[in-house]
Symmetry: C2
């Protein structure tokens, strides 16, 4: 079906300046990968979020795969993860042999909190993955306390919330590892794919470059001649005497140059999306059938605009928006335990009633940054009419 | 040290038309990943090499990682791989639990052949990885016969030889799986990173999309409403009843648009590089201290220009080229068994005397496509003078 307003196929338009950065990088970057643009992007990213180490990678899943490797999972170890998230937040940990314990969300914020996580902690818990879903920052201070008390590694999946803050501290910098995405649908994108892994932990920071780039490193001895015994060494990434396998998760120089440039615009994009979201929500204040999460502060990047539908039928709402107005609303994020992959991995059971309730009654509106105000107004008016019809 | 002529930091310059393709893709691609440009690139690639299925991926290592997964390695299984290659040709197979048996090269062609591979076959052999190193196509017909006789899966690593042919058949299409690279240093590059995995095997082709993109697939049942029960399924990639873990190895739309465009130029680049290589080699015909592999046919893409040094000291040659003329010659490829990673993985022993002899006496000249003819002439003249000095 052809929609008048499809759900976000991409998030934003590139400015002329951003296009120029790409053209210049194509002309002048030597080499085209693992060069000075990567270093600059990583440095600027560190400055922006205020962290010690940042590693540009091919996508956020790659960052999560490395985070999962860094946990040094042993048989029986458990990792607490929300079931209400994208699949990449979870399967890398299964791959490393962990058992996942699914944490429920708070029905109002739609993300996990210290209370729902605490219920999942056992003597086997190794780590917690918090996802700042939809762009909203979870209660990281309380969750960090919980992690510290229980000696757990804390990973923040900030794929949807780059630039978000909690008490003036950037999301991603509370945990031991922070994961960011520059995928097509995210608030900034490095040409469709891209990600970043950050940490303040020096042991992690030492091993990540080898994990990312095929185990490449310098020889440990000094060399008089640059080619002897070879151009460089390839070694086993090693953490606390455990060997990890390397990967190739490199991000190209052109993408890094663009990422550096787009960092200048993330605050403006987030502010504008938040302003639009609050406007949209306020306009629907007399439509209590749609329950939004209102947070008019930098704690919410409003990457996506979602509501829980009550009193009217959710599916009728989506159907009418689609059939009568050509607007493609979607549902997300399918509780992971319901997917065939997780069932086959023996992770098909959860105790997350709020996740189930929310997902089965939620709607996500088209909300890409590139939508014109007129399109947003059209969605708003259609929404009102559909709710009125279904009352 | 600053070199007057550094070793290839990137391979080629982008043309104005290629830059325009990127700019247009930035402006008009919706979405920015996993869209129509990927499909077009894959289709055009299939047409170019003449294969049934092609899958664009984030890099050639990712393609090799998936190839290794598709082998369904069991404990004790062996994979035959040249030790004279880049590390990505090998470690993905270790990751899947295989034992590597290192195959030696032919001293003249610098790649493996049916004879060196045959010596490595045991009752535990599961697969053969052939690397068309430096751009030269190995004896694929004989090697395929060997694989067929012994019921082995044959993988071609064509990272350095896109466009190369053997008896009018493109390299990469002889084996069950073919791997290509569009890395910064390769004859064409999709902005620094990128790769392709090809196959004619329908079972492989069915599972690769899930392996590549987080297990995403359609639901197996028909749906009246596009959002029920969710936007799509996530399932376990399954081959011959074995579960494989998914990955995220996606290549962005802008990169795919550029790759499609650059396919139009690969033959011209290869021809020009081959013409230059033959010229370089002919000019040095009175310098038998440098033994080149001469192949003036599409069987050699001359991705790199390498020679074995005899009678004079190899290290003195490189030192003089560097110190006296500012030309950065390098050595490659360090026999993998010598790297710390392979030693630690219990793969530190090989029986590859020709590989050892070649590596310890080889030199690789700067040979990127973007070198000016004047620069190539400068390298040529310097080479002559250095050899004469060292005689």
């Amino acid at each position: 079906m052809n929609f008048k307003i499809p759900f976000a196929g991409r998030q934003h338009e590139y400015s002329d300046e951003e296009i120029e950065v790409v053209v210049n990088a194509m002309k002048f970057s030597v080499p085209l990968t693992q060069g000075s643009n990567l270093k600059l992007f990583q440095n600027e990213f560190c400055d922006y979020v205020n962290c010690r180490h940042a590693f540009g990678v091919s996508n956020a899943t790659a960052a999560l795969e490395m985070a999962a490797q860094l946990l040094l999972i042993n048989e029986g170890d458990e990792v607490i993860i929300p079931s209400h998230t994208y699949t990449s937040s979870a399967y890398p940990f299964l791959k490393q042999g962990a058992k996942i314990v699914w944490a429920d969300i708070d029905l109002q914020t739609r993300v996990v909190n210290a209370e729902t996580i605490k219920k999942c902690i056992t003597k086997n818990t190794k780590a917690i993955v918090v996802v700042h879903l939809y762009g909203f920052g979870a209660d990281m201070e309380e969750i960090l306390d919980l992690a510290t008390e229980n000696d757990l590694i804390l990973i923040e999946d900030v794929a949807q919330a780059l630039g978000g803050e909690l008490n003036s501290k950037k999301l991603g910098t509370f945990g031991h590892l922070g994961v960011f995405s520059f995928h097509s649908h995210k608030n900034i994108s490095t040409l469709g794919e891209g990600g970043m892994l950050i940490t303040d932990d020096e042991n992690f920071a030492k091993v990540i470059p080898l994990l990312r780039h095929n185990g490449h490193c310098d020889f440990e001895f000094s060399r008089d001649q640059y080619w002897l015994p070879a151009m460089g060494n390839v070694d086993m990434p090693t953490l606390h005497n455990s060997y990890l396998w390397p990967n190739n998760y490199c991000l190209g120089e052109v993408e890094c140059a663009l990422g550096t440039k787009m960092l200048q615009r993330i605050d403006a994009i987030n502010s504008e999306k938040r302003r639009r979201a609050i406007h949209f929500i306020n306009e629907l204040s007399n439509y209590p059938e749609l329950q939004f999460h209102v947070e008019d502060s930098p704690r919410h990047a409003y990457h996506l605009l979602v509501a829980m539908v009550t009193d009217i039928d959710r599916d009728d709402f989506i159907k009418s928006m689609s059939n009568d107005y050509g607007i493609q609303c979607v549902v997300q994020y399918y509780p992971l335990d319901r997917y065939d992959l997780y069932k086959k991995a023996d992770q098909g059971k959860s105790n997350c009633p709020k996740t189930d309730l929310f997902f089965d009654n939620m709607v996500s509106f088209p909300f890409q940054h590139s939508l014109a105000m007129a399109e947003l107004d059209y969605i708003l008016e259609a929404t009102k009419k559909v709710v009125e019809k279904l009352r």
